[in-house]
């Protein structure tokens, strides 16, 4: 069999080292999950540090948590869940062989929700924090009512900005990936037989959603709000 004939026999997107598309798809998903496991441990390191410092400075962390606005955190949680749904629907559209316009519609909607999340965070929440002088390194001011809790409050705000900041970086990367997916979809790269980039990017997007679910619970709702 000539080289050209061998290529012609393959479905689009099929890589030669695999037995069939099913095996290729499972290998791809497995590989992405191995990467996500390293991400679990990456964020896990920060969560572990958070747990330790929360044990040492519990009252400070509660005081710091009460400086954050629950409405911002809750709104962003809703927005991210919406984006996860639209991402799942984008993949489903590709699986079921819908028109590429429909896939692009769901992908763009996902991007809008992702951008909305970042927009709310940067322009409302972090601006609010800056005006309140609770951004470490950018005009952070101790308040008299904190007393000896002050350094612990600053520590909490450091955790808050590093963890939500690292999450925001992942969101920005996700938006870049979604842009590439839109271009690939427009170029007819996907079919019901091959949509691996969509599926694997979806795993990443949902993972970032999960990280936020825990950040919301641990940073905003810690120790109650009553």
């Amino acid at each position: 069999m000539t080289e050209a004939a061998a290529h012609g026999a393959h479905p689009p997107g099929f890589a030669h080292q695999f037995e069939d598309m099913q095996q290729q798809r499972e290998a791809g998903n497995l590989g992405m999950w191995v990467f996500l496991v390293t991400e679990i441990l990456f964020f896990g390191g920060m969560f572990t540090a958070y747990i330790v410092y929360r044990l040492l400075h519990y009252e400070s962390f509660v005081t710091g948590s009460h400086l954050l606005e629950v409405k911002f955190g809750a709104t962003n949680t809703y927005v991210l869940i919406c984006s996860s749904l639209t991402m799942a629907l984008a993949i489903r559209s590709a699986q079921t062989g819908k028109r590429k316009g429909q896939i692009i519609f769901w992908l763009i909607l996902t991007m809008i929700f992702g951008a909305l999340f970042l927009g709310l965070k940067f322009t409302f929440e972090w601006r609010h924090d800056y005006i309140e002088h609770i951004v470490p390194g950018f005009g952070f001011q101790y308040r008299p009512e904190w007393g000896s809790l002050g350094p612990g409050v600053q520590m909490f705000m450091c955790f808050y900005f590093f963890m939500t900041g690292m999450h925001a970086v992942h969101m920005i990367v996700g938006l870049g990936i979604l842009t590439v997916l839109v271009i690939m979809t427009a170029r007819n790269k996907f079919s019901p037989g091959y949509y691996a980039p969509l599926e694997i990017s979806g795993l990443y997007w949902h993972f970032v959603d999960i990280v936020w679910i825990f950040l919301f619970a641990l940073l905003y709702l810690i120790g109650g709000r009553y």
Binding site: P11, D20, M21, Q22, R25, E26, N29, L30, W33, V34, L36, V37, I40, L41, G44, G45, F47, T48, I51, V52, R54, L55, Y58, V70, A74, T77, Y78, I81, C82, S84, L85, M87, A88, L89, R92, Q95, T96, P192, G193, Y194, Y195, E199, G202, L203, H206, F207, D209, I210, I213, F214, F216, A217, L218, Y220, L221, I222, G223, G224, R225, Y226
Partner: protein, 117 residues
């Protein structure tokens, strides 16, 4: 293992996605509401339990792990197992340190242990 011989993988019904979506939205509303009720240390337990439930819903349905191969599931469980090792071993050190010149015995650990919740 997927029961489909097709290459497309498992197609989850839109209805399932919507149910999971509404469950996640309801969970967010619930966890926010519960934070305003004084449950003492149970506030943290409830918040984490709801977050864990939401995570499971996302992993199983949005991330298709309910329909994934056994190998993929084992890899995911290993990831969470290593996370558990990291947290457990760190705390086994942290919680058994007594920050006193003259340690007053195991009772000194109780304030630290109780702050876990």
């Amino acid at each position: 293992m997927s029961e489909h011989s097709e290459h497309t993988g498992h197609v989850v019904p839109v209805r399932t996605y919507l149910l999971v979506f509404f469950a996640l939205m309801a969970g967010t509303a619930l966890t926010t509401a519960v934070a305003y009720i004084d449950l003492g240390r149970w506030n943290t337990v409830v918040a984490l339990a709801i977050a864990f439930t939401k995570m499971c819903l996302v992993i199983l349905f949005f991330m298709h792990v309910k329909y994934a191969t056994g190998l993929t599931r084992v890899v995911i469980l290993c990831g969470f197992f290593w996370l558990a090792i990291m947290i457990t071993l760190t705390l086994s050190d942290e919680l058994t340190r007594v920050w006193e010149i003259n340690p007053s015995g195991w009772s000194a650990l109780l304030p630290f242990a109780s702050r876990l919740l």
